[in-house]
Amino acid sequence: MKYTLRVWRQNGPDDRGRLVEYTVDGITPDMSFLEMLDVLNERLLLDGDESIAFDHDCREGICGMCGLMINGTAHGPQKATTTCQLHMREFDPRKPITIEPWRARPFPVVRDLVVDRSALDRVIESGGHVGVHAGAAPDAHAVPVPKPDADRAFAAAACIGCGACVAACPNGSAMLFTAAKAVHLAALPPGQPERGTRALTMVQTQDDLGFGGCTQAGECATACPKEIGTDVIALLNRDVLWKVD
């Protein structure tokens, strides 16, 4: 099969960038989306062109490194699927595919489809952790945790930090990411001592980094490859407003 692609090419952070059209042949339905780009890149290389830069690593949907805006949808058309797990069988060869980088002021484009998401690390660094020295912990069975709490923590902790929520949000907000981490820790006993300040600090950091505010548009949850719901945002808001410690 043959596809027409419109790919964002940008030489560096200061380049203006533009969409460039390519056709790529010899694509089979069982190829992944990134394997399709691999094929294109090998051809570009042999033609003496520079290959298209895009982030990827584990290629099994867990590291959160890949992330492309495909036809205006973060991670493409398949629900609950990262770009690397998307397969070409989802695409009609008659329709062109437009591929853009994540767009948000805190995510500056590094090159082509690669963006700098280190702002998300800053959010975690500001408060998304529990202070405990290695070797100082009590026995793991010292505090039983109700299974529903553990399950709720896990559901939020499934976040892979890909940034699709930011990319999809009409406001460019990172609230789903921030809330997922805060709620993961807030659901478990070790997260209690710093619960309120953690929530406040992380949200403040997120605002300071230039992310937009949350207006509950819900696009983040639709885009999230790990299906984290906006209820975590409500829980974070509750901790920010009512749980000051």
Partner: protein, 637 residues
């Protein structure tokens, strides 16, 4: 065979005497660095997987200044994140008779008696504290309704000692370590440098004192110095091109360290994981693991008649071959990975395979436990399988085939995790120490975290207490930097007609065919002939466009392939010299009449540590002594 024998090697750091108290005695004997001096000492940690992130965070907690590097855009993405099944610990929470001694025994036996007793004992000893620490960090392990931690059983074990967080245990443990690291970054005790790749080691006055790195965004090449260097850069399974490793996983850091004087131990010990999604086509870029935990409830089978064209549901029980249950009635589908992988290869070689694989069938488990229970246990894995293959594992059996997954070999380290270069420590999969010739499922996470949270922090002070080490020699820095600049320039200068990917693919095929699940003297000799040719071809014909002073993923890949092309040769040489079968290393010439691995303890009960000379490699043997477990035939029948 083209190598020479060097002097024997001995691990001088492990205390003698009773195994049970060795670690305690070692910790007591290790010198400490006072808190005031720790603030003045710096440690470089390369890699941010479970071992690297936990080591960096813990060393910073102790007060050392830490500089942390990773090639990913965030420390949280290191490939430990992809470990699915779980982490072992001898907690005996299931009350089924587990103990430190039993986990020790299982690990030694699982490693086919090619691991060091003292290291393995220590690993099992600290395993419980890992779980305690992770729970205290907020890692959301699976729990029972009573609120206590749930466990499950894994290959090679007859007890339930594997803690897990659905199918994302590695992710959750890594996030715990990453958060601990993030806390230290925020406190200013760790400087984190993501998107930065280590390209050489600086050795000054015989000590590892720094690294030369390339900033992957700007292409800038810089040197960073410290009092000690820790490599936590993972395994080298990507030498096979297709593996379950991340695309970026590479051997460059350990290989460059090897070329600077760190000996490489047991390079041929590769783990082939039995349950991966089979290769689909030529442009396949990676293989996806289906967690070993699936073998708890799934049954592996093939049609008894080769080439049976019927759909799986149409084949009656009597015409199915549940070959693991048939050959290994005691462990059944839960035999260790190497055994399951080889049995799978054997039935496929007989022509019984189904579309490049064998069935992993959940029909019985669904009938017994109900669809909901299976969905709760494996739902995310089933979804992943369906996304990739477009087949529904609830209604039709999965198809699986073995794939390269983990490398037990790595840089040689002593009991204190010191390599043969003073000041260079190696932790996690990057070292060789704890798994022998085969790693048990759910033990990689255990080892990575044991090394990073507990072992390294306890013993690194004993080395640093020798300091301060004086200024780093400018000549050593210049020499290392020049060599990195030269390599980058050389890769860009060839301007040939083949992509780095095409060389990687070809190397992978050679390695899979000749140094994969079954190895033979002829095949290895063939590989040893072809690899140098391929390497020469690489330096004549590789094409890298773009520049060295910007983000250039083709250049990154080319550099990694260049190192794989050298490492592959050493792997084949090691595999050829070890004319026995053990664990994941199966030599066709050394098998029992019924096709099981035949170990040769008379000749090969040693660790093979290879020294790089620039010419013929030198083999140093570290003899293995077994005092607590007597080497026996490793039977799972």
């Amino acid at each position: 065979m083209n190598y020479t024998e060097g002097t024997p090697l001995r691990d001088t750091r492990a205390p003698d005497g009773p195994l049970e108290t060795r670690w305690e005695r070692r910790r007591l004997a290790a010198r400490l660095v006072s808190p005031a001096n720790r603030r003045r000492m710096s440690v470089i940690v390369v890699g941010t997987g479970l071992a690297g992130a936990s080591a960096a965070a813990t060393l910073a907690e102790l007060g050392y200044q830490v500089l942390s590097f990773c090639y990913q855009d965030s420390p949280r993405r290191a490939h430990s994140v992809a470990a699915q099944g779980g982490i072992n610990a001898a907690k005996n929470y299931a009350g089924d008779g587990d103990s430190t001694a039993r986990l020790f025994h299982d690990t030694i036996k699982g490693g086919d008696f090619r691991a060091r007793e003292s290291n393995v004992y220590r690993l099992t000893e600290v395993s419980g504290a890992i779980i305690d620490h992770c729970v205290a960090q907020g890692v959301p392990f699976a729990r029972e309704y009573g609120g206590l931690l749930d466990t499950r059983s894994f290959g090679g074990a007859q007890v339930s000692r594997t803690f897990y967080a659905r199918g994302q245990t590695g992710q959750q443990l890594l996030l715990g370590a990453y958060q601990a690291l993030a806390r230290q970054i925020h406190a200013g005790r760790v400087v984190s440098r993501p998107r930065t790749e280590m390209l050489d080691l600086v050795v000054s006055d015989g000590r590892a004192r720094g690294v030369v790195v390339r900033d992957l965004v700007t292409g800038e090449i810089t040197t960073h110095t410290a009092d000690a260097v820790v490599l936590a850069t993972g395994g080298y399974g990507n030498v096979f091109h297709l593996s379950t490793n991340a695309k970026g996983s590479n051997a460059t850091a350990i290989w460059r360290a090897h070329k600077r004087g760190a000996w490489f131990a047991n390079p041929c010990f590769t783990q082939i994981h039995p349950t991966c999604i089979p290769v689909g086509g030529d442009h396949q870029s990676k293989l996806t693991l289906m967690s070993e935990s699936l073998r708890n409830d799934g049954r592996v089978w093939v049609p008894a008649r080769p080439g049976d064209p019927r759909r799986p549901a149409e084949i009656p029980e009597s015409e199915r071959d549940y070959f693991l249950e048939r050959r290994y009635p005691r462990f059944g589908n839960l035999v260790p990975r190497d055994i399951a992988a080889r049995a799978t290869k054997a039935v496929c070689d007989e022509g019984k395979g189904v579309g490049r694989g064998v069935y992993l069938d959940f029909a019985d488990a669904i009938a017994r436990l109900g669809r909901d229970v299976i969905a709760e246990r494996y739902g995310n894995l089933f979804e992943m399988y369906q996304r990739i293959t477009a087949e529904d594992p609830y209604s039709t059996p999965m198809r699986i085939y073995p794939a390269v997954h983990y490398t037990m070999g790595g840089l040689w380290v002593d009991y204190d995790l010191r390599s043969t270069i003073p000041g260079l420590f190696v932790v996690g999969e990057a070292n060789f120490s704890d798994h022998g010739a085969n790693r048990l499922g759910a033990s990689a996470l255990m080892q990575g975290l044991a090394d990073g949270y507990f072992v390294l922090p306890a013993v690194i002070g004993d080395y640093l207490a020798d300091g301060p080490f004086g200024a780093v020699s400018p000549e050593a820095v210049d020499e290392a930097e020049d060599s990195v600049h030269a390599t980058v320039a050389a890769l860009l200068a060839v301007n040939g007609d083949r992509t780095p990917e095409s060389f990687h693919r070809e190397l992978g095929r050679v390695m899979w065919d000749h140094c994969g699940m079954e190895r033979s003297a002829d095949g290895l000799a063939e590989a040893l002939k072809r690899i140098p040719d391929l390497r020469a071809d690489f330096w004549r014909r590789v094409k890298v466009t773009g520049s060295g002073s910007a983000l250039n993923q083709t250049l990154e890949h080319a550099g990694r392939v260049a190192d794989f092309l050298e490492l592959a040769e050493l792997m084949c040489l090691d595999a050829l010299h070890r004319a026995e079968s053990c664990g994941g290393h199966f030599r066709a010439e050394s098998q029992t009449p019924d096709g099981e691995a035949r170990r040769d303890d008379e000749r090969f009960a040693y660790v093979a540590a290879w020294e790089h000379t620039g010419g013929t490699p030198v083999l140093h043997r570290e003899e293995l002594a077994f005092t607590a477990v007597r080497p026996s035939e490793r039977s799972y029948r």
